[in-house]
Symmetry: C2
Subunit: 216 residues, 2 copies
DNA sequence: CTTTAAACCGACTAAGCGGTCGGTTACTTT
DNA sequence: AAAGTAACCGACCGCTTAGTCGGTTTAAAG
């Protein structure tokens, strides 16, 4: 086997198992040895491939988390049909995974954000980058919806994006432990209702002001 | 000074500082010594008053977290006026605190839920209890609103409660680090729009704010 | 087959952890 | 003043951690 291929394979194995354990037990609560035991590898192998535990985690974020985010929450809404429907289906599926996957303890990203916030600025930067990508993508999806007439022109794209992200992150936290399926169902029907209020109004409808000016 | 008073005072000091540090740095990432150093107290004092670190934390949850939850998210909406307005104001104020308090890293409860989930079932039970109290309180507030005519009768109280909790928990996570004030603002205007879609549809509806536009 | 370096091993270190315990201080009671 | 005890001290123990390093295996290259 090619040397560089072997290197890649080992690093990949370590990262996949690392993410799984960090996700399940938390970063600070997972030791390097825990990961190595799972893989029957040694400390030497680990520190041959990675500079430190922190460096290891950052590479996991860059290699695995970013891709996971894209495949679950970004690519599914990149089509050109009805944006709100696509977002609805995207959330529906992502939450369905959460219900059935016992390894799924809340939203990966928000878990880590909570864990590293105020503790590790360097890692936080990488995590916030992913959030910003998600946000930017939601915003442009909503603007696309406004452009092609599926969403009312007066809707505040940035506001909706923040609200959607909040709701999704929150329900993922709520779905751990207590009645995940019921909560998913309730969440989704409220989301649909929220989206309904964003459908285009009649031509001469008064601007219903997405908030500006009524603040406090 | 009375002995029992002194005991109470010391335990209180320990719990307040403990919560602050656990909140800021996480439970597993905060050592008992960290807390004691802050208070200039010794291991002996700690283990004289508490059985273990875990017992200590549970007492913090029961004594401090429950009260914090009540004073910030439950009592403010227990009045008998327009329920939606009360919830709006309650969230507004809770988020305003989050914006200005540098010690405020996300929603206390959701932080801890994320940290203990899958790791400490005993503590998780206590945390989930608080969530259930909050949920029950929101549900009855919404039902009250339906009863006194401020909320449409067809609204799903449980659904709205889950959605509100999700959104609040999520935005608190989002507000850490990146543009908390802007995100709070956007969140609140979307929340108002969401609430607007829940106002009574029938013609004998309660007056809904001033101005133009009586559609919807 | 020999050379060479990448890949991996695992004992070791220093630091930090939760928790223990015999001793000391400070206050109450008699 | 003496005795008793609640409150507190801090050295210590056993254990785990991230990270180091000299040595060994593996496999491609000459």
């Amino acid at each position: 086997m090619n040397k560089t291929l072997k290197r890649m394979a080992t690093m990949q194995r370590m990262q996949v198992t690392g993410l799984e354990l960090f996700y399940k037990k938390g970063y600070y609560n997972t030791s390097v040895d825990d990961i190595l035991k799972e893989l029957s590898l040694s400390k030497g192998a680990f520190y041959y491939h990675f500079d430190s535990k922190e460096d290891f985690f950052i590479q996991i974020v860059e290699n695995l988390l970013v891709r996971k985010m894209y495949s679950m929450l970004i690519e599914p809404i990149e089509g050109h049909e009805n944006t709100l429907d696509m977002i609805t289906n995207c959330f529906e599926e992502a939450l369905e995974t959460a219900v059935h996957n016992e390894f799924d303890f809340g939203f990966v990203l928000s878990n880590f954000i909570n864990e590293f916030n105020g503790k590790n600025e360097k890692i936080m930067k990488h995590l916030n980058d992913i959030l910003r990508i998600w946000e930017a993508n939601l915003v442009s999806a909503i603007q696309r919806g406004k452009f092609n007439g599926h969403i009312d022109r007066h809707v505040d794209s940035e506001g909706v994006a923040v609200y959607l992200m909040s709701a999704y992150i929150g329900v993922r936290t709520l779905m751990v432990e207590t009645a995940p399926s019921a909560r998913k169902y309730r969440f989704m029907s409220q989301l649909r209702q929220y989206f309904k209020s964003m459908e285009p109004k009649s031509e001469n409808a008064v601007n219903q002001s997405s908030g500006y000016g009524t603040y406090n």
